[in-house]
């Protein structure tokens, strides 16, 4: 066996692919679990796509900070946060694929077009490499996703429960990191306070969508979490952070949805196209490419 980790990966995967369209068949055993009684497999697959796409697209946005963060430690922090979310996304997309939503996790990640993605707008909006905006988004996203996963650990679907049980620990750490930065910047200098408040104002219009119950979620009681039920818990944490950070809760009208339809229905902002263009271009230009 070679000492080179990449060689050792390639030698056991006969097709030699491992960056995308891969021979990775390593996803967790649980994804083949039977669909719980009385649950429509297509609905369950859609719900897995929602939570998986939130994580995948947010991870892609966080990855844009690699080589761009204000300091090396922060680059490592945002990349590690992205890695956790990517790991969650892989299981959820693999489960969705197993339930018939696509060929496999890679096909779902790299071959779907914008209207087929089910993530909320908050995950996809750009931050123009403004660090305060990245923190504001991560604070909102991680606080909300943690509240969702805390409730999802008792899901009747064993895959969702397993992803949630593991993800809760990760999201708590992400939230902690974002909250500490929000306080440091908000309660910092005049400049950092102004920029942190502006960042919060910029992402706030995408909060309303987080608590809107989609048709699919409504059809999955006991399996999916009704996001509307997380609003109180999310607000309590945000109030705690905003108070410590001397930031003002923005009051801005919601955005990112059209006529009540949003990411959960495949209606996205312009930003998702840019995310996908970067994320999918290599896999689309060289389908099945090997290294």
């Amino acid at each position: 066996m070679s000492d080179n980790v990449y060689d050792s990966l390639a030698e056991t995967h006969e097709d030699g692919q491992w960056a995308f369209g891969t021979g990775f068949e390593d996803v967790q055993e649980e994804i083949t679990a039977p669909v719980p009684d009385g649950v429509d497999a297509a609905d369950l697959a859609q719900y897995c796509l929602m939570l998986g796409d939130d994580a995948l697209i947010c991870a892609q946005r966080l990855s844009e900070w690699v080589a761009n963060a204000p300091e090396l430690e922060e680059e490592v922090a945002l990349a590690n946060t992205a890695l956790d979310l990517l790991g969650q996304a892989r299981v959820l997309l693999a489960r969705a694929a197993h339930l018939g939503a696509g060929a496999d996790e890679d096909a779902l990640a790299f071959q779907r077009a914008e209207p087929e993605f089910r993530n909320v707008a908050l995950a996809e909006i750009g931050d123009d490499l403004d660090f305060a905006r990245a923190i504001a988004r991560l604070l909102l996203f991680s606080t909300w996703r943690l509240a969702l996963l805390e409730r999802l650990v008792t899901s009747r679907d064993p895959v969702l429960a397993a992803v949630a049980g593991k993800g809760v620990k990760e999201l708590a750490y992400h939230r902690d990191h974002a909250a500490h930065w929000a306080v440091r910047l908000g309660d910092g200098t005049d400049v950092s306070h102004t920029r942190m408040q502006a960042a919060l104002d910029a992402v706030w219009p995408y909060v309303d969508e987080l608590f809107r119950t989609s048709e699919v979620e409504a059809r999955l009681p006991g399996v999916a979490v009704d996001p509307a039920e997380t609003r109180g818990a999310v607000d309590a944490v945000l109030d705690q952070v905003l108070a410590a950070a001397t930031l003002t809760r923005p009051s801005r009208p919601g955005a990112g949805t059209i006529g009540g339809r949003g990411g959960r229905q495949g209606v996205h902002t312009e930003a998702l196209g840019h995310v996908l263009a970067e994320m999918q271009s290599l896999a689309r230009q060289h389908p099945g490419a090997t290294w």
Partner: protein, 146 residues
């Protein structure tokens, strides 16, 4: 040598005369070492004479640093990595957000001093944070408690 069993990553082994099934669990959802662990296991078990080797990966129950054995903790420290503290079962209810609580002072794995500080909450791998000892001046990694 620090083993997968020491780390609590190895969950189960079932072997017959020429077949073996090994079950492992990732530390973090996106742990990139999992592929290497899986391939190393396959190679080692094949070398050991098993004709059929199956490596299963399970997510549940979620890995906890409390699963790292005492021997594993000692070996981590020997290699200059501060082992995690014990956290025990999590209290019921929402996970509280602790603002303003200073990071714990982890004992330096080299000199034992508690005069240490956190440099970065995220280290070179998903499971570690970066600290520095102000007594012996050496930086070190700390396995984060989860």
């Amino acid at each position: 040598m620090l083993t997968l069993d020491d780390l609590g990553v190895l969950r189960d082994v079932r072997a017959s005369a020429d077949a073996v099934t090994v079950t492992i669990t990732p530390t973090y959802s996106g742990c990139p070492a999992l592929e290497a662990i899986r391939d190393d296991l396959r190679a080692a078990l094949t070398d050991a004479g098993y004709r059929s080797v199956e490596v299963r990966t399970v997510l549940s129950p979620p890995w906890s640093t409390d699963w790292i054995s005492d021997a594993g903790r000692a070996k981590l420290a020997e290699h200059g990595i501060a082992p995690p503290g014990r956290i025990g079962p999590r209290a019921a209810g929402p996970i509280p957000l602790a603002l303003g609580r200073p990071p714990a002072r982890v004992a330096c794995p080299r000199c034992g001093s508690r005069d240490t500080e956190e440099l970065s909450r995220f280290g070179p791998t998903a499971c570690t944070a970066l600290h520095r000892c102000t007594a012996c001046r050496e930086p070190f990694e700390h396995v984060k408690e989860i």
